[in-house]
């Protein structure tokens, strides 16, 4: 039965990691806007290359 010690610890650690990820995402604003992305993904990007160029420029 001592396997319980290990199982319990592992499961708690895993659950804590998930909680941590959730809090981290919450803080980063992942859940701020849950509507616009669903519309955005439907747009066709005719000239993806230029858009990506620009984005790398600003972030770099």
């Amino acid at each position: 039965m001592s396997i319980i010690y290990i199982l319990l610890t592992v499961s708690l650690i895993m659950a804590s990691v998930f909680l941590g990820i959730f809090l981290w995402n919450l803080r980063n604003g992942q859940f701020d806007d849950d509507y616009t992305p669903s519309v955005r993904m439907l747009f066709d990007d005719e000239d993806i290359s230029t858009k990506q160029d620009r984005q790398t420029k600003t972030s770099g």
């Binding site: 319990l8 909680l19 809090l23 803080r27 616009t36 747009f43 620009r54 984005q55």
Partner: protein, 847 residues
């Protein structure tokens, strides 16, 4: 394509905005536009290969008005700019705006493709629900002003007002995403509590179902240790807010909702620690985390807010950010807050007068509907006083500031009257606030609940002490406090009212908080403002009263040709009215406009005069005595062709649809009143809506309105005030439920408890009925929760409450209450929809 064009000739709609087009005057690439604004937007999009805008959503465009060149010049002022910008490193700059006109997926697409129109805009993101756009741009290549002008030219004018310039942190949440706002903090607390609740419960199961004997001791030790570890963040992070609030209220001698919660938390936590460390048992840690979790759920549900709406606007939200200052011949932009007495300023068409001023230009037309409720713009002559809040209609005017912004008539009123009542009840606790009777059911219940709880706990404790069973005495005392935790009670009201807010929101009835719903349920009197609330602003019903005969079509054409030349609002109304039935190709010669009096001109060789009685008097002399009206209450415009008097046009307010049915239904249960800043000209029409003339009150200044509400309240009445403009702001604030009625929800509304879309005003009785039913649901939920509590207390007073019973009873009662309230409120919501549908067919088919 040409065949398509001719087939749509009868019903021309603008390719950009979908509005009706008058003629073919704006045409490009086989496409027709209603105005040059729409055509320009199409051109911009076409040049930048953004025609896809029109394929994503049909008729997606927003009709734009031509923008004055100098309108956004103030964005070049460094200090205003720095307040609007979220971040800048000298070149890469980030800014975010609130854009009320965002309404469809085409908008999102266009706004996120701004970089294709101007390469200096490197990135743009929209948040559809918050109607917010964040833009990253290169400041050395494009200025903030150019960006705002670009957005405006496309129909997406950002809302920039003194208010968000002065409180940048308030609207810049989007700009600084890496912090916890209060809402996010609540979600985080909820997550932690839920996590701990689930785990503690699982870990506690073996204890409840029994260990096998040989591993019992070591497991119990580990499980208890883990439980304490998990309960610590629940107590010190998730539940801390309750403890803090209860402590703060207790110090002020108030028992609020959080008192029994905090009391329960402390008792459970200490008792559990004692039990575990002394080896008495496993403690009640799952109960602790459970009730913190459920209470937070209730709070989270209640905290639903409408991000795009603001309920707390003050006068600053209405005033422009900057104004054009004239120094000699030089014009420059200054922030409104820097205006000084003696400054000369220029106000353009549709701009607000920011401070009380003296008119220098020869004439002006000031629309005070926002301030006084007077529905027609007033002509002003040079040298007259203009009050802040008025809106110029027509050409740009020049004026001299006589009072600083902060001491203007309107601002004074706002500061002294409207909020004085709030200030006195906060600073002077001896006199109970006027709204004391509208305390929430929850608070009322809680006050008695806490007292009753302590009483039961003490009595059962004392009972066992008398029996000399001391350990059981302590056990019973603490158990009562543990089991009777009020979270099921809290949940009942949060879920019922939260759901009610959500359902009402579907009908564009946006309540500020749950308290507003409760207050609506116990109204006695309803007070309406006239202009803009029960009448539609910017439209009037025009009626021609012929002197001898009605107008012939030719006469109408002459008049139409004449009024076409004038920007006076009455001429505009008349133009709109006449152009419904006829069109006129005549050209007016020798056109003359005499300010505040009338128009004259030669149409097709005929002398046409249009104007006031006084104007006709000047023109016709003694003959005009015949049409002197003793009661010039209503607005009238007289018409004369070739010296022959034809009759007059009469302007009536245009009442919103369904008003009569609504007032009939409301008048059965409520005391209805009308407060108007306007004259009594409409009294005969209004009498029909409000029973008799005693319920009509005209010539009411904003302060009169406030005092009227106060007088009603002193008769112990719960008053709802419906208004739309700044002139109602004081009354809205004073009333128990202030409802701002607005034609365009995203735009200006005064501070209020509820924001209601004017198109749904007719269904007000349904909304009130629904609020009443929601409150009934709460009362039923309270009974339900009380039954669960009584069962728990039954065990507790005997000192036989086991952790298992507590652990089962608590979540079961909470979930039960949640389900009960949610389903019953939804059921009433469905009934609301059904009623609305029936009433709509009935009301609108009758018209």
């Amino acid at each position: 394509m040409s065949s398509q064009l001719s087939s749509t000739q009868q019903n021309l709609t603008c390719y950009h905005c979908g509005d009706k087009c008058q003629d073919h005057s704006h045409q490009l690439d086989d496409k027709v536009f209603c105005c040059s604004g729409c055509q320009t937007v199409y051109q911009i999009l076409e040049e930048n290969k953004l025609e896809a805008f029109y394929t994503i959503d049909k008729k997606a465009g927003i009709r734009t008005e031509a923008v004055d060149k100098g309108k956004f010049a103030y964005l070049d002022i460094p200090e205003i700019k720095s307040r609007l910008i979220d971040f800048t490193d000298g070149n890469i700059t980030k800014v975010s705006f609130f854009v009320p006109t965002i309404h469809c997926s085409s908008c999102i697409w266009l706004l996120e493709n701004l970089y294709r129109i101007n390469a200096a805009i490197t990135f743009s993101r929209t948040d559809f629900l918050k109607k917010r756009i964040s833009i990253t741009f290169l400041e050395q290549e494009i200025s903030l002003r150019t960006i705002v002008e670009l957005l405006t030219s496309l129909g997406y004018e950002p809302q920039l007002s003194l208010d968000n310039v002065e409180n940048p942190e308030r609207n810049n949440n989007a700009g600084i995403p890496k912090t916890f706002t209060s809402h996010k903090l609540l979600v985080a607390k909820l997550a932690v509590a839920g996590f701990a609740f689930g785990n503690i419960m699982l870990i506690s199961f073996p204890e409840y179902f029994g260990f096998d004997t040989h591993s019992e001791h070591s497991f119990r030790y580990l499980f208890n240790f883990l439980n304490i570890l998990l309960a610590l963040p629940v107590f010190f992070f998730s539940g801390w807010g309750y403890l803090k609030s209860a402590y703060q209220n207790l110090r002020r001698g108030i028992l609020n909702v959080d008192t029994p919660l905090a009391l329960g938390m402390i008792v459970v936590f200490t008792r559990s620690l004692v039990d575990i460390f002394m080896g008495y048992g496993p403690g009640y840690l799952d109960t602790l985390s459970g009730f913190v979790f459920f209470s937070l759920i209730g709070k989270w549900f209640q905290q639903r807010t409408y991000d795009t709406l603001r309920y707390d606007r003050d006068f600053k939200s209405y005033f422009p950010v900057a104004v054009t200052l004239k120094e000699g011949e030089i014009e420059r932009q200054v922030p409104v807050s820097e205006l000084q007495v003696g400054n000369r300023i220029i106000i353009r068409n549709q701009e607000l007068v920011p401070a009380d001023s003296l008119l220098i230009s020869p004439k002006a037309h000031i629309d005070y509907s926002f301030v006084t409720g007077e529905s027609m713009p007033m002509p002003k002559q040079a040298g007259e006083n203009l009050y802040a809040g008025g809106r110029q209609v027509g050409n740009a005017i020049e004026m001299e500031v006589v009072k600083p912004v902060s001491q203007s008539y309107l601002t004074q009123l706002w500061n002294d009257e409207a909020f004085a009542s709030c200030r006195t009840c906060v600073s002077d606790p001896a006199t109970p606030p006027v709204t004391s009777s509208s305390e929430s059911i929850q608070n009322l219940f809680n006050r008695y609940f806490t007292v009753a709880l302590l009483l039961i706990a003490t009595i059962s404790g004392v009972f066992w002490i008398v029996q000399h069973d001391y350990s059981r005495a302590l056990n019973a005392f603490t158990s009562v406090l543990i089991v009777a935790c009020p979270c099921a009670l809290v949940l009942g009201s949060s879920f019922a009212l939260g759901n009610a807010i959500r359902i009402l929101g579907r009908y564009s009835f946006f309540a500020k908080n749950t308290q507003a719903i409760e207050n609506i349920a116990r109204l006695d009197a309803i007070v309406f403002d006239k202009t803009g609330t029960i009448t539609e602003s910017n439209t009037s019903d025009v009626e021609f009263v012929g002197y001898e005969h009605p107008l012939t079509d030719t006469q109408k054409k002459y008049i139409l040709a004449l009024v076409k030349n004038s920007v006076h609002p009455l001429s505009q109304h008349l133009y709109k009215y006449l152009s419904q039935s006829i069109t006129s190709d005549y050209i007016t010669e020798q056109f003359q406009e005499i300010s505040g009096k009338g128009l004259s001109g030669l149409v097709n060789g005929h002398q046409v005069w249009i104007g006031s009685a006084e104007f006709m008097y000047d023109k016709l002399g003694a003959e005009a005595v015949a049409f002197h009206f003793p009661d010039t209450q209503t607005t009238r415009v007289l018409a004369c062709i070739e010296g022959e008097y034809l009759g007059y046009f009469q302007f009536h307010n245009h009442y919103r649809k369904g008003l009569d049915a609504m007032n009939l239904e409301l008048s059965m249960n409520y005391d209805l009143h009308l407060l108007s800043g306007d004259n009594a000209g409409e009294a005969p029409n209004l009498k029909y809506f409000f029973k008799d003339e005693q319920h009509l009150h005209f010539h009411q200044s904003p302060a009169d309105k406030l005092n009227f509400i106060k007088a009603l309240q002193s008769e112990n009445k719960q008053v709802m005030m419906l208004g739309d403009g700044l002139n109602d702001a004081g009354a809205l604030q004073q009333s128990n439920v202030g409802v701002a009625v607005s034609d365009n929800i995203a735009y200006f509304t005064p501070a209020s408890d509820v924001i209601l879309d004017a198109s749904n005003l007719w269904f007000l009785p349904g909304f009130i009925y629904f609020c009443k039913q929601s409150v009934k649901v709460i009362k039923a939920a309270l009974v339900l929760a009380a039954i669960y509590n009584l069962v728990g207390i039954f065990f507790a007073v005997q000192g036989t409450l086991s952790p298992l019973i507590a652990a089962i009873l608590m979540p079961v009662s909470s979930i039960n209450v949640i389900l009960f309230t949610t389903f019953s409120v939804r059921y009433f919501g469905k009934r609301l929809e059904k009623n609305r549908h029936q009433l709509k067919t009935y009301t609108f088919s009758a018209i």
